[in-house]
Symmetry: C2
Subunit: 536 residues, 2 copies
Amino acid sequence: MTGPLPAFQRVSAGLFFLALWGMVVGDKLLVVPLDGSHWLSMKDILEHLSGRGHDIVVLVPEINLLLKESKHYTRKIYPVSYSQEELEDRFRSFGNLQFAERAYVTAALMEYKNSMVVIDLWFFNCQSLLKDSNTLNFLKDSKFDALFTDPGLPCGVILAEYLQLPSVYLFRGFPCSLEHVLDFAGSQCPNPSSYIPQLLTTYSDHMSFLQRVKNMLYPLALNLFCSTVFGPYPRIASELFQREVSLVDVLSHASLWLFRGDFVLDYPRPIMPNMVFIGGINCVSRKPLSQEFEGYVNASGEHGIVVFSLGSMISDIPEKKAMAIAEGLGKVPQTVLWRYTGTPPSNLAKNTILVKWLPQNDLLGHPKTRAFITHSGSHGIYEGICNGVPMVMMPLFGDQMDNAKRMETRGAGVTLNVLEMTSDDLANALKKVIYDKSYKENILRLSTLHKDRPIEPLDLAVFWVEFVMRHKGAPHLRPAAHDLTWYQYHSLDVIGFLLAITLSVSFITLKCCAYGFRKCFGKKEHVKKTPKSKTH
Amino acid sequence: MTGPLPAFQRVSAGLFFLALWGMVVGDKLLVVPLDGSHWLSMKDILEHLSGRGHDIVVLVPEINLLLKESKHYTRKIYPVSYSQEELEDRFRSFGNLQFAERAYVTAALMEYKNSMVVIDLWFFNCQSLLKDSNTLNFLKDSKFDALFTDPGLPCGVILAEYLQLPSVYLFRGFPCSLEHVLDFAGSQCPNPSSYIPQLLTTYSDHMSFLQRVKNMLYPLALNLFCSTVFGPYPRIASELFQREVSLVDVLSHASLWLFRGDFVLDYPRPIMPNMVFIGGINCVSRKPLSQEFEGYVNASGEHGIVVFSLGSMISDIPEKKAMAIAEGLGKVPQTVLWRYTGTPPSNLAKNTILVKWLPQNDLLGHPKTRAFITHSGSHGIYEGICNGVPMVMMPLFGDQMDNAKRMETRGAGVTLNVLEMTSDDLANALKKVIYDKSYKENILRLSTLHKDRPIEPLDLAVFWVEFVMRHKGAPHLRPAAHDLTWYQYHSLDVIGFLLAITLSVSFITLKCCAYGFRKCFGKKEHVKKTPKSKTH
């Protein structure tokens, strides 16, 4: 019982050495972030990298939402052609549009239009950046060791290629979906459609026959949307490089993919050696509650609290919907802490407290928290998993429907359609996840599995970004598949060759047999016939 | 520069917690080992698991080579039907046969016969074990938490299924090859033949067209061998379970695969979430040299030493070959430490010291070691990589040819054909890897990459075996592909369905058009014709 602890000692020694190494050398990292919620995990990683002595430069558009100053990095600001009002208007409009009623037939079109409100803006950013020769010259002269970016919108990806820097991508989705979406595989990760549900389908990994049919056809339908979203990027890239490039070419040069996922939330599937899973990276560090929130929690009595937030992108909710929600919340005995910056609904019940901001992860970690109402963005979902809090999910856009479906199939939450739900639906869902013990048991089981890991996701992310900086990439992890054409990859040329040989051999054999047959029997018949004719 | 070290602190805390956890709970592990060199890494892992308070029972045939008593585990011995002499004779014979001259056309047959000398023995073992009701009853009553085995020969795999225990497999090869070898995928890991060389082909991941053709056909040729090696196992399994099972069925229940490989030695390829890579697990701990070996090394002067071992399975070399080797070794200025238990060659040079055993990893780690002559078994290769020693490789059987090829393509060693090489070939190869600096540079580069990892392979192995014991398996890492038939997995039913629809729609459209065409133009012609006939 007092045996040695070699694991502990050796890992500690290793990381201590790495810590020293990072501090002494201080590599130089260029960061191209995506404004909005995606920035949050990236910021955590940067703070840790900065603490380990690295020199970090973050490329920031002069007008932005969350990319604020920090002692952990230097901001290199580039000009953009829109104002702070326009930016905020667009984000507000994006949020509001999520609650707009939509007819079934036009839902996809509306979804597309909503997304483009923000996506267009990001493209303007990228265009401004790649045309700003001052910034480009500064970047070229700065001699970075690596580039760290979110390839969700691939401006950083293009910049990595332009500056010839090894790159690390921080991403939630699977690039494997890009195999279908963007011409051909950015990561060369196999993606069998028979058990891997396409992003946004909300299918599980066990699909019915018809679901498998739809799952196979889905990327074709999605192509239209994707070509609009991603289409302009290869154009500006080709212009910048003065040669034709496809987005997949550029994406395929990633040294390492950091995925904000794991196999507690996502379904098990093939992965590649240069993919590292860091789901839950955002919920490792927990701080004590402030006096204000400690007060709310303590006052909640035996019923405890419900934490409610629709994420950083949704600041407002249409009045009618807000009132329905407020009514629903009033029907449960728990105290509800609702992060809401819009006009307070007039029917707000006594148990509901509106706050402009809440320490979500710290609150979820409190033993008195009974449920979590979330838009099921991946950050929120992981905070729910880490802290073992059953969820009522109101997915709005992007991967949120998929996240919600995954938690629901695992019995750890209930999904509501925010557009159609009534106040009773909300109250019933809340009561279900709080009083039906199976929800708590399931989320606790997921939580235990998620947190039982040999190394924390934040440390893993820091290690791999440093690895890429130290070794100027990770070419030993790059599959040779990148050097094959699509028909070579699928061995179509080999299959064609083998088929041709088989057919040729069969044909020749057949011909030989036929010839032999004629030789052997044909003549005899002829011989037989001749005497016959003679007897005539 | 004096920032916090959260990575270090958090990992330490995590592992400390785990260490305590393991010690307090002390799970119960059943181990079914494979006698011979495969046992060495497994033993290391067991010693660490035992140090963490787990109760380990190793199933050992009463007649064995290396499965000796230890304070770290209890041995449960089962009877076998052969004697110690027969065992040793067979291993000796196996070793000697590796050096027998062979004609090109009969080489494969001879290889097969050589392998069966040992493989047959392992099957006898398995048969004895699975028919020994005393042992089986003891195992059933013992309530283990998990089973740990080497699936190279799948007796443990069958036992895991029989006892309904979650299992961890320790393996060098890729089970993905089993996709071709054993009917259908034990792991459901994709295995595109276009860039993943089949085991034993010695191809790299960049193959010519003809190599890709051969790589695709190779499994068909190998099938014959594999069905002889593995064929008897499903038979005894079916008998034991009293229902028909295939080996792939049984293999597919693995909770976790621990692979003795990494992507410094192996080529990057798709992997699955339940595969963990622990290559180099055997060369982490290094001890100071004994006085005897310290003496040899110090006496070697400026030229340093060469370490020479053909592994634990080869104890003897035919006299003629041994003399050629001795002559070659005499031609270099280094002191050669040769692990050799046969009769000393009469022409042994002064620089060559024969030893019955040598501390291989400790010697390779000495700065005076200039080269390593190895049979390129994976243990030896990883000790060469860890310690950054260029290698002269004399592969004999199994994956050794592949290992040698991989190191050679990376410029870290030279491969010799042990059957055909002359003494000059050996001397020249040694001089090349010692005096051509590129070999040292390349092996040092590989060594740096290999050792730059967030967690040591031994700790990773210990963590995952404990994980499977703690959670009674790892079902969240099991891909849903296991629940599909082969035609569903490849979406052949979906493709067939879509084709049928496309063809039906095309056919109906065509028919409709034809009908419409006849309706529109057919009648007119008829109408036109009628007047014509009237005019006649």
